[in-house]
């Protein structure tokens, strides 16, 4: 399933050449996946893949939005030439947010192929689940999920307005409207909910997990994904001559941000592991223990290598960040690693806390 939307720049010829075929391929893959799901009768595989790729697509936009917000808040001047690209990327949140609707519809239709807490019979048996049933239920879940796009749509609209206006930057108007700043910080309330979407696992509680993946505003996952996608798009546009203003210095700065936030991801991810490993509390270690058995150990190791060890040394030197092909290579690797990160977070816990890896 590849329905990741690649935003095209404002060049009609380019967008027609690239966006059209990409859209067709994505829709085609989606139809094939849905057919396979219907024929095999395995709804869990379909829905978990949908959730995984939906979250992956939306983290790119969230990361780009965060990048734009930081540039405005710090009144950064260096990033003006790449900020337009980041604005375009963040606007993808709008259409991609709609892709959550099928999941919510399925939830309201009593499907529990993704979230075991939607299975009334199971909830009755499980004392933890029945204790959380007051708020861990389908209507509440739907309301909280809709809360995020409501805020994001406002922010994206503001970004779009800024994008469309060709007035010079010097105009004495707050660059990032205060209302938007408020909206941006309002996402804090969403973090817990987002965690629950990703974790699917209702037993484990860890505040750091929210930092790792659930906190849409300072989530290292989203920031890394957004920066990697931004770097890739900027490199691509520069190569076909649409962004001649981007110099090696801009690439260097993007590379430094990418490298820094990738290390931040590793820092947060390891902090979480260290605390759970050290405290050794059964209801917490189970989450990691399951990811060391049933075929998930390989995924965990690949994640460590691709998301930290290799990029850490590969992107460390100044030369690597200033050399466009090398930077593009590591951006792709980090983007793939982010996809694996979400796979590793979601798949082992789908439809129950312990699910073996399936190879196809």
């Amino acid at each position: 399933m590849s329905h990741a939307l690649h935003p095209a720049p404002h060049s009609e010829a380019f967008s027609g050449k690239v966006a059209g075929p990409l859209r067709s391929v994505g829709l085609g893959c989606l139809v094939v996946a849905a057919l396979i799901a219907i024929v095999s009768g395995n709804a869990t595989e379909f829905w978990s893949a949908w959730l995984h790729n939906w979250l992956f697509s939306i983290t790119v936009g969230l990361g780009a939005l965060l990048f734009v917000a930081i540039q405005h808040l710090t009144k950064a001047g260096w990033s003006v030439v790449v900020r337009r690209v980041a604005e375009c990327l963040s606007v993808t949140i709008g259409p991609i947010a709609w892709l959550a609707v099928p999941i919510l519809v399925a939830l309201l239709a009593d499907s529990h192929s993704l979230f075991m807490w939607n299975d009334a019979a199971h909830v009755m048996e499980d004392p933890i689940l029945s204790g959380k049933a007051a708020w861990l239920n389908a209507p509440f879940f739907v309301i909280r999920t809709c809360d995020l796009p409501r805020h994001l749509v406002v922010v994206c609209a503001a970004v779009l307005r800024g994008f469309c206006s060709r007035r010079p930057q010097r105009r004495r108007r707050p660059a990032f409207p205060p209302a938007c700043q408020k909206r941006t910080t309002a996402h804090r309330s969403w973090c817990d909910h987002h965690t629950r979407i990703i974790r699917l696992d209702h037993v484990t509680r860890s505040a750091l997990v929210q930092l790792h993946s659930g906190y849409p505003i300072c989530s290292p996952s989203a920031m890394v994904a957004g920066l990697a996608a931004l770097t890739l798009v900027v490199l691509g546009l520069r190569k076909i001559g649409l962004l001649p203003q981007v110099t090696v210095e801009h690439l260097h700065d993007l590379g430094k941000l990418l490298y820094g936030f990738n290390c931040f991801w590793a820092y947060i991810a390891f902090s979480q592991y260290l605390l759970i490993w050290y405290a050794n509390i059964p209801e917490e270690t189970g989450w990691f223990y399951h990811r060391q058995i049933h075929g998930w150990a390989e995924v965990s190791l690949v994640l460590v290598a691709l998301h930290f060890v290799l990029p850490f040394f590969g992107l460390m030197s100044r030369g690597a960040k200033r050399h466009a092909p090398t930077l593009a290579f590591w951006s792709v690797i980090i983007l793939v690693a982010n996809w694996i990160d979400l796979y590793w977070l979601i798949m082992p816990s789908v439809a129950g806390p312990e699910r073996p890896r399936r190879d196809w």
Partner: protein, 423 residues
């Protein structure tokens, strides 16, 4: 007493100049002008050219043709030495030199050593960067000819300077002035270097020597303290931590009338988990005070209903609290006993076997009382084991005794049949 007056040396030559030409400085109003001038000067063949700017200027490395610095390699080496050293240090300390088991973690565990490894790597990388920069730039320097010029002072706020040094074979002050002025220099000056004396001032030398001497005092004091003993009381550097204004348990207090620091339980209240129960259940006897060994006032049976759960609880409690001395089988061969007898220190009384007739014949209440208040060397366990758990232990103890002294009549007929067949 004779005095010799040395004649003042009279020099007939020209007096030696107190300064010589160090180079020339050109001041610019903007970074762009500086960049173009630097590029032009480099093309003219100058090698000893330096730029001084109020902030880092992009492209200055290329304009001045500065070779890539080796500093990143020094920093990387510092980081790797820090990481490797910290990792090895922790493993050697905790795994080899002083093995110390913490929370059942492996002696040489990777996750717990990562924070220190990370921190030391950062620390040594920062040191390498800091001292590397000083080393590569020949710092610290007590003086520099540039500081003698007035125009250089504004370089730290809003002006840009290019400096050419005179020991460059291609240096030509006139040409430098022409080229920089062409590219927009607002002023060009020559820089003089004071050559009157390059010796370090005596005051600085003396200060340095005294500092080194003073730095030796603390290690000497520490060495002396380590090698000798003292009868003086120890020093308390943090007084209010060592002597806290508070009352501890079992001490007196002038605040209350009765002079106790601890308060009595308020009458009519019940502490959590302290609900009063039937005295017979909590003591094991029906009289007011513990009766004599042969008294009939000991409870003769367990006053709570003996279920299989109570039996399991009793086995668990027995294995936790009793088995260390009495042994899991009750033979008086627990690991503490075995070790104590090995040491042969003569203070240990070996517990008698719980299968001994003298124990078997005791009423249940008396066994309960023994667990509660102890007997001979055995301490009482009332504070550690709740009354129900003590009865559970008594129940399990009875089962343990039956396992050694059972009669055929105690065993159900079908089980007896199976046992007869297997033996």
């Amino acid at each position: 007493m004779s005095t010799t007056v040395e004649p003042t040396p009279v020099t007939t030559d020209e007096p030696e100049p107190a300064s010589r030409l160090f180079g020339a400085i050109a001041i610019f109003e903007s970074a762009e002008k500086l960049l173009s001038a630097a590029t032009a000067l480099k093309q003219s063949g100058l090698t000893k050219l330096e730029a001084h700017t109020p902030y880092p200027v992009h492209g200055i490395d290329e304009a001045l043709r500065i070779a890539p610095t080796r500093l990143p390699w020094v920093v990387l080496a510092g980081a790797l030495i820090g990481a490797g050293g910290a990792f090895a240090m922790q493993h050697w300390m905790n795994g080899i030199d002083y093995p110390f088991l913490i929370s059942g973690k492996p002696l040489m565990s990777i996750p717990s050593s990562i924070p220190v490894t990370f921190e030391v790597a950062i620390l040594l990388a920062a040191f390498a960067a800091f001292f590397g920069v000083l080393l590569f730039n020949g710092l610290p320097r007590l003086a520099h000819p540039l500081f003698r010029t007035q125009v250089f002072r504004r370089v730290t706020s809003d002006q840009f300077a290019l400096v050419a040094e005179s020991d460059d074979p291609r240096f030509d002050e006139l040409r430098f002035g022409v080229i920089t002025t062409e590219h927009g220099a607002t002023s060009v000056e020559s820089i003089e270097q004071d050559v009157s004396s390059v010796a370090m001032p005596t005051l600085l030398k003396a200060a340095g020597v005294s500092l080194v001497a003073l730095a030796l005092i603390p290690p000497v004091l520490i060495a002396q303290a380590r090698a000798t003993t003292s009868e003086k009381p120890r020093i308390h550097p943090i007084q209010d931590m060592d002597f806290q204004a508070k009352f501890k348990a079992q001490t007196t207090s002038p605040f209350f009338d009765d002079g106790r620091a601890m308060r009595l339980q308020i009458s009519g209240t019940v502490a959590r988990g302290d609900m009063p129960i039937d005295p017979a259940i909590s003591t094991g006897y029906t009289s007011d005070a513990p009766p004599g060994p042969e008294s009939s006032q000991w409870l003769d049976s367990i006053p709570i209903s003996p279920t299989i759960e109570l039996m399991a609880r009793g086995r668990e409690r027995f294995n936790i609290f009793c088995a260390a001395c009495h042994g899991r089988g009750g033979d008086g061969d627990g690991i503490v006993t075995v070790r104590a007898l090995e040491l042969q220190q003569g203070t240990w009384v070996k517990p008698i076997s719980l299968h001994d007739r003298s124990v078997r014949d005791q009423p249940d209440g008396r066994l309960f009382n023994t667990i509660t208040n102890g007997v001979r060397k055995m301490p009482g366990y009332a504070s550690q084991i709740k009354p129900e758990d003590r009865w559970a232990i008594v129940l399990y103890l009875r089962a343990l005794q039956s396992s050694r002294n059972a009669q055929p009549a105690d065993v159900p007929a079908d089980v007896l049949e199976t046992l007869r067949e297997t033996n």
